[in-house]
Assembly symmetry: C3
Homo-oligomer: 324 residues x 3
């Protein structure tokens, strides 16, 4: 009884930090200060875009998915590390970004955030034999279901989603002066949470630096590398300017360069190749989903990082894999 | 020799009951009387729709896929339980429902029904480590191949399939008086076998009640719950009226509520959430497959039920999983 | 040191044969003479089509992917058997076949060829518990990424890919005299390496016969059987004439009939069914990918052969499975 009470009390006292940790875990940082800075960046960017509900959605998402972990009585130490929250916060960012502001959208947001917690358990069960984790794929898969459903359910209309169409290259002019490139580079980072604001990108870099210089380094390098790649291959200008070729690459870079592999020159090469490949997978999934008008979310990051971790080469990956 | 003869004789004598069991297993009932009532419902509905060949296709499908199990010398007790037949009977319903009545369609029906038996062995081999089964996915996957091929093979034209188009919400008026709602609710049940008839829905409920009150209860509740969900979120009227948001939810409800989980209030909540999520997955797959003009079949049920069983939470699922 | 030097020297001396073995392994033949004849066929066909760069792409692809295996220090005996090269040679055929001849296409070709080597390790890791291998799927998956990306990246334009459109049956007249049928049949074989030339088909048959009469027999039979199937079901004339319903079936036939199953009458039946099913899966994937304008590559062969090997029936497959 006493133990149970103690457990409950400490959980309640720790709850805000657990939420911040959940937000930080989106970029693999088990650090509440990182999460707090991320959240500040989200609020700044959301209100800058006049879509404040995105930030409030993020808060609701992380609360709901974390609480779901407690309700399902999942092992507590994972929840305290924020591993129940990072999918939920992304659901919370995605729903108001893509769908109309209706009561049915908010109910779906709560359902989908909760769902990511058990989808994550299921996907991690599936992937366990190969020693890789599900990354943000519980968020990606669950959100795809609801965004696709929004096409047919006028109760939560897909007002901000792109129109379904056959994929085709778009000729758009793009400013390539230094100031513009810096903005594209920072937006590539802010888009990890679906935010289109260079200031938010600075917040995110600061949040990473608080927790790990190596993560901040690879975040910065990966966004720049992705930008260079998509410019060389002449990708679509509008998406480049909005940072839409950066966010998946950023996550791949932090995952390979600063989380799952040891810190050696072989890892550096592996990570650089991984980031470049992520850009092609990003474009591929954009084109594949074009007739459905479906955003890829962070799917390209998951696919790319799996491709680079499944081989399990001993010289890239001597570290035992952490749970996330 | 004597044993072998005895085996053969008893197989032949048991064969009709094995077929009925196969039809019953579509809704998880190892009961020949259930299957017989289901078959009566199929014949009633098929002739009511002036598509009698659907019922005859169902019969051919269950015979072919069951015989394939004997020919491949698969372990006999599974065949006797009807586990070779339930995918075949659905193939037999689907082919004449979607494709033109040509000799090449019938040959493909026989090939596809037979194929489900070894596809099922393969998928169950894949899924074994996670203690879930392939459900009706052998039927879904095999039939997808042939329905997609029908777009290009004019020998079996896709005359009753919807035209490929970009997904879009449809504004249709829908009668919401009590009588209409009951019809939609019963059609949600009859569509499990691709039949559009409320009378067939009554047959199916009766067939379930003969075998298991709990299964009949969850069948009825799930179709109603799916109907309520899709009405709240303003789904497309025509599909709602035809029961097309009910059939996957019905199967999820019986699977979670009356087959794979213990009977407790936690299971009840789990099943209700599972049924609601199935409705969104149904809409998502409808939208995703819209540019291909491909029906989802019972794919949404398989995906949803996997999502709710893969986590393997001990408090929802203390029962060891049966083979199907 | 001496051992290492010896290893290096013998590798360098063996390198050309390793490359030819890699080309031969596309049709499961660990035989350098087979690979040499295949390469002659590729050069003949490529120059006949006025697309000589396809042949040079093939050479670069097999060199890059084989070298990648050495650089990654993968176990050497596999490389010597050509198992690092067969995906790369196909990448090298595919890129200049579908995309414009730009410097960015060639850089992407090198990246994608290298990538197949670790994608193969990863996929084989995933599939190991079920004792099947990844076949040519590393080539298929990696190339899909780049071909889809080509839709959006004007630096490597998809000039020879078909326009995205909704799938629909096409009425085309088709010469059915004996000479034309022989040409379609041989082109079904040459398309394994994406070559549209009956002479190349003769080269490939000769290459197989040098290594294994059984493989040559099933190659010839499978292409004929696929042709008969697609003619009976009235498939699209242009694709039939170009051999596009043959290449996947040919690979399925050699895999089931001459590589992974014992040589018995049961295997013969299994292989014939497998080849026919491959034709439907080929059409299905053609239709499914039509809105994306994406070629199936040898994906239908992989899917079909998995479907026929995953069940792991003892009477079809008593031989222990080889590594490829």
């Amino acid at each position: 009884m006493t133990t149970s009470n103690h457990y409950l009390t400490s959980s309640v006292r720790e709850f805000p930090r657990t939420l911040f940790r959940g937000i930080g875990q989106v970029m693999f940082q088990d650090n509440w200060l990182t999460g707090l800075l991320f959240l500040c960046g989200i609020f700044w960017g959301a209100y800058e875009e006049n879509l404040g509900i995105v930030a409030w959605g993020a808060l609701i998402g992380v609360v709901v998915s974390t609480l779901t972990g407690y309700i399902l009585c999942l092992p507590d130490e994972k929840g305290a590390n924020g591993l129940w929250g990072f999918n939920g916060v992304l659901v919370g960012c995605a729903f108001p970004t893509f769908m109309g502001n209706t009561i049915w959208m908010w109910i779906a947001l709560v359902l989908c955030s909760a769902m990511t917690t058990w989808v994550r358990t299921g996907l991690d069960n599936i992937l366990r034999p190969w020693k890789v984790s599900s990354f943000t794929f519980p968020f990606v898969m669950s959100t795809w279901f609801f965004l696709l459903a929004a096409r047919l359910f006028s109760g939560m209309p897909p007002v901000h989603m792109s129109t379904p169409e056959f994929a085709h290259g778009i000729q758009e002019s793009l400013n390539l002066d230094f100031g513009s490139l810096v903005v594209y580079w920072l937006k590539g980072i802010s888009q990890v949470f679906l935010i289109n604001s260079w200031v938010t990108g600075v917040f995110f870099l600061a949040g990473l630096a608080v927790s790990s210089w190596r993560a901040a380094f690879w975040c910065a390098v990966s966004s720049a590398l992705a930008l260079a790649t998509v410019l060389f291959w002449h990708g679509p200008g509008g998406d480049i300017a909005d940072g839409l070729y950066g966010f998946s690459a950023v996550l791949t870079g932090i995952a390979l360069g600063a989380t799952y592999c040891n810190n050696s020159w072989k890892t550096w090469i592996w990570t650089v190749i991984g980031v470049v490949v992520t850009v092609f997978i990003q474009a591929a999934m954009n084109a594949f989903f074009s007739p459905m008008g479906l955003p890829t979310l962070t799917g390209p990051f998951c696919v790319a990082t799996w491709i680079f971790l499944f081989p399990d080469y001993s010289f890239f990956r001597p570290k035992p894999v952490a749970d996330k």
